[in-house]
Structures are given as C-alpha cells and as structure tokens.
C-alpha cells in the first residue's frame, strides 16, 4: 500500500467520522424515546434540522457569540420537544402504536412546513466554531470543526453515562424503559419520564444539527434522510441500546464516506439505507442486541 492511498483512506475516515457522530446522536435520540414510550419518533430528523437552522439564524443574522447561540438553540429545540410531547403525545387517551407513529409523522410534516416558511428552500451556510484552517495528520487533512464534533459527541456520551447511572432521574428513566408498570408501582411518575425523554431527545438532536451545519449546510428538507440514517444506526446497534447506537452510527458514517470515495458519491446516501435493510433481514436485533430480547420488542 502506498502512502498516498493510506492518506486517502485516512481522509475518508475523518469525513466519515464527522457524519457518523451525527448519525450516532440521532440514533441516541431515537433510543431515548423508544425506551420511554415504545414508539419510533419520525420527527427525530426534524429536531436536527431545527437545531441547525436556528443556530444559523442566531449566529449569522442575530450575531450572537457561538456559546450563547449554542445554548439558546438547544434550549429552544428542547422546548419544541416538550411541546410536542405535551400537545400531541400526552393527550392521546387510548394510544395505539400505529396512531402514535402517525402523530409523529404529522408533527414532522408540520415542523418541516414551518421550517420551510421561516427559512425558505435554500440551504444555509454557517461559520465554523473555530478557524477553518485544516490540520495535517499523516498526509490527511482534518478540519477543526471535525475535532469539535468528536469532542462534543464524547462529552454527550460522558453526560449520558453519568445521567443514567448516577442520578436518580436517570435511574427512574431506566426503570421505566425496563418495565413501565413496575416503575409506576415503585412511585415513579412515568408520564413525566416520557416528557423528559422527548426533551432530552430533542436537545441531543439539536446539538447534532448545530455541530454539523458548518460542514453540510442545512436546509429544511434534510430531516427525513438524517432521521432514517439515524434509525439505521439505532437498529444496527440494537434498538434501545444507546452505546451500541453510537458505535453503529460512527461505523455507518465511515462506511458511507468510503463508499462515496471508492464507489460513487451518487450512491453514498443509499449505503446507510442498505445497511438498515440488511440488518432487518439478517439480524434484526442488531450487532449488540440479543435476539431473545428482540422477539419481545414491540413498537
């Protein structure tokens, strides 16, 4: 192997890593809501788009400093997530999974429509968090933004582990995910946990949108594809298993970049979808899930 082909591979690896982190975060969002309610939130991709677009407005038009814009965007999308749960999921008296899924589809259409009205149809450019000067790494170049993305993903993972293992609320959420009735008997307010899961999921989606927008340029219609790739990562990692989802997300991102580099950039977007189909065919429990548990899973 010549050194140039090695640096090529390394370059694709970095490109894949930055996209993969986004799929990983979207997959975490899916898992959180899935664990709390048993439904797949089709508006997950819309949270990512909303985060990206809001951040564009706050940094480029309002000219807020990036940390402040980051925080306000995350809070805003989290509130959207809470509103979604309060107004569309919570009031449903006799929930069937089919009905809830269609409701999340409806919410995703509405968010997409609103985003189109406010931000228009063109894609939006956002400045990078720090300089755009690339760093050299064994012949490959890496953008500082990529380092930001990886760093923020690691921070979120650390926060996730801390929250679900060492705080009471996090433990309550885990209890609800394992058995909702038993958790309720133990005095846990399960409706509140559902709301919290929507809030967290929206917040994580927003962060994903914020950190990727400088690289991919956000537009209103990206939600569906981002969402389904995130779902691919969630299924590959084992639905409900967030650590699996992170590894699977990064893996899908890297595979996608390699496919774009060595096969055809036209079919790049199809890679994640083909992986999703293959997993559903061959091992629907995902690489980190047990097939025993899978048979009982329902959504």
């Amino acid at each position: 192997m010549t050194s140039s082909s090695f640096s090529d591979i390394l370059q694709f690896f970095f490109m894949g890593l930055q996209r993969g982190c986004i799929y990983a975060l979207a997959a975490m969002g899916f898992n959180m809501i899935y664990n709390a309610t048993g439904i797949i939130n089709f508006a997950q991709g819309e949270f990512v788009v909303l985060g990206g677009l809001m951040m564009v407005t706050l940094t480029m038009a309002v000219k807020l400093p990036i940390p402040l814009a980051f925080l306000s965007t995350t809070v805003f999308v989290t509130l959207v997530g809470i509103a979604m749960e309060r107004f569309t999921i919570n009031p449903v008296k006799h929930p069937t999974v089919l009905r809830l899924i269609i409701i999340t589809i409806a919410v995703s259409i509405i968010i997409k429509g609103l985003a189109m009205c406010f931000w228009g149809k063109n894609s939006h450019f956002m400045r990078h968090f720090s300089s755009t000067e690339t760093l050299d790494f064994y012949g490959a170049t890496i953008l500082p933004q990529t380092l930001w993305i990886i760093g923020i993903l690691l921070l979120i993972v650390a926060g996730y582990i801390y929250f679900f293992n060492y705080t009471m609320t996090g433990k309550c959420m885990r209890a609800c995910a394992i058995n909702r009735d038993a958790a309720r008997l133990a005095g846990i307010n399960d409706r509140k946990m559902v709301m919290l899961s929507f809030a967290l999921s929206a917040g994580i989606g927003a962060i994903a949108g914020i950190i990727i927008t400088p690289i991919i340029q956000m537009d209103y219609a990206r939600g569906a594809l981002l969402g389904i790739k995130g779902f691919g990562a969630a299924v590959l990692g084992g639905l409900g298993n967030s650590m699996g989802a992170i590894i699977a997300g990064v893996f899908i991102g890297i595979l996608e970049a390699l496919a774009a580099g060595y096969i055809s950039s036209h079919y790049m977007d199809a890679i994640a979808l083909i992986i999703l189909m293959l997993v559903l065919f061959v091992r629907p429990s995902g690489i980190f899930g047990s097939s025993e548990a899978m048979r009982l899973k329902e959504f």
């Binding site: 797949i40 089709f42 569309t88 009031p91 449903v92 006799h94 999974v97 089919l98 009905r99 899924i101 269609i102 409701i103 589809i105 409806a106 919410v107 995703s108 259409i109 509405i110 997409k112 429509g113 609103l114 189109m116 009205c117 569906a224 594809l225 389904i228 779902f231 691919g232 299924v235 055809s264 036209h266 079919y267 977007d269 199809a270 979808l273 083909i274 999703l276 189909m277 559903l280 065919f281 629907p284 899978m294 048979r295 009982l296 899973k297 329902e298 959504f299």
Partner: protein, 338 residues
Amino acid sequence: MKIKDYVGIGIVMAAVAVAPKLVGNEYYLGVLIFAALNCLTCTGLCLLMGYAGQISIGHGAFIAVGAYTSAVLTTKLGWSPWTAMGCGVILAAGIAVFMGLPTMRLKGHYLAMATLGFASIIHIVAVAAVDVTGGPSGITGIPRLQLFGFVLNSDTRNFYFYWGIVVAGLLLAVNLIHSRVGRGLQAIHGSEDAAASLGVNIAVDKIKVLVLSAVYASISGSLYAHYVLFIDPGPFDVMHSVLLVTMVAVGGLHNIWGAFSGALLLSLLPEGLSFLSEYLQTFDIRYRTDYDTLIYGGILLLIMLFLPEGLFEGLSRLLKTVFSLRRKWGGGLARHAE
C-alpha cells in the same frame, strides 16, 4: 359484500358516469384522473394499514416501480404497455415479498422503517442511474394506452378507463375484506395472539396483504406513466408516500370507504386551496402553495388527535351523537311544555 358496500359502489359508478358532463373542463378532468390514481393506491394502502395493522411509509416507491418499469420497457424495448404493466406488477410484488419476509416476522412496525428506507433507495436510484431512468431529466415519449385498438387519447376516455379500474380495485378490496382472508386479517388487528391460536397464519397473511397493496400501487404507477407520458423522480419522493398515509389516515384507517374518500378529498384539496387563495387575495392576504405541506400536516395531526377513526366514521359517529342528543333534549323540552 354488505348492502352498504353495494350502495357505495353504486354511488361511485353513478358519480363517475356523470362527472365528465358536470365538469366539462379538461383541467379539472385531469385533476380527477390524478385523484383516481391516488384512490387506487390508497385502497391498497388501507388494506395494509387498516386491516393488517402495518404502516408503509414507502408506497410511493411501489408507484415508482410500476411507473419506471412501464416507461423503460415501452420506450427503450418497445414492449406493449400491458406486458410492461404486468412486469411492473410482478416486480413490485417480488419486492414486497422480499421486504415483507423479514419485517413481518418481527413484532412491531419495522415495515414502516424498511419501506421508508426502500423508498429513499428507489429515489436515489431514480436520480443516479441515468442510463436506465434518465436521471433527473426523466423519460419522455411514453406511449398512450390502447384498449382493443381504441387509443385512450382524450381526457374523457382516460377518465372513464381509470375510474373503471378504481371501481374494479374497490370491488376486489371489499370482497377481500368479507372473505376468509379478510376476516383473518380483522382478527389479527383485534389480537395477534388470539388470531394465531385460532389458526390464522399471521406472517403469511400480512405478507399477502402487503403484496396486494404493492400491486395496487404499481398499477397506479403504470397508469400514471401512460397518462402523463413523461416521468421524472420528482413525484416519487418520500413526501408523496407520507401524503398517501395522510390520505388513508384522514379518511379512516379501518374502512375502505374512509380511505377512498380521504384520498379523493385530499387530492382535490390543492384545487380548493388555490380557489381559497384567490378569494383571500381580494382581502390582501397572500397565500402561497408552500403552505400546502403545513396544511396537510395540520389536518393529519388534528384527525389523529381528535378523530382517530378518521373523518368518514368520525363524522358519522358525531352526527349520531348530535341526533341522539337532540332527540333527548327535544323530548325533554316537549315534556316540559306539557
């Protein structure tokens, strides 16, 4: 079939017979032909959503399979449209089996995501495989349909033929619901475990319905190609699939007639909205077609929150309550008067 269904079919046939006379305008006849295509797809989709309890967010892809098979085989290989349509049906059915086998054996709604993924793949292929599909510029010069040497070259002829197929599709679907398979499906919807214990082969029956609904969509796609005579990837995006789900859900998931009226209603909605926008313009309120998406989403959400059984059954139930209330109150008032 029940009497209600005969009445329904009768009404649809009567309406179809007089509609071209009433409409008169070629443009609105075209709108009604597109409505027919949506009605056909939604009848199939309703079988899947309402009776097998599975959701497909990728039915636009089956339409695309039908449309592109028809277009490619007739323009590039010179096949007869009917043979091409048959090939489209076989291809769509094959894909449905292929997708149904793994997902239907699992509990839950994996089919939803599998179909969504499939629809995205089909759209990507339609745009990227330029040699076969013509890429973003599409395929032109698709021949018109011929029926025993009778070319469907006017909108009136197309209208009658397409709505004839819709009526045939409705008849088949209604008959299916009242057959052994249909009753089995309704049992699945009530309780999968109970149905299985009574000898309904759940996975096989669900796959059969998925195949049938894919066939409906594929035929509707072929008909689309032979009516518009030009196809490009635009109309087959995921949003169209979501719109189809909206049509079925708005009309009523568990009722073929509901899905049919939902499809008809939402197909005519853009026309209504453009009427409304002209009206609003006199008040200086600007309405843009961009808001259509928002309106579809809003309707879907409101229906799912407040009338989950759909407009069709929801409204009839609402009317019944109103009537019974009036009778009660009316009776009470009458007694007071005495």
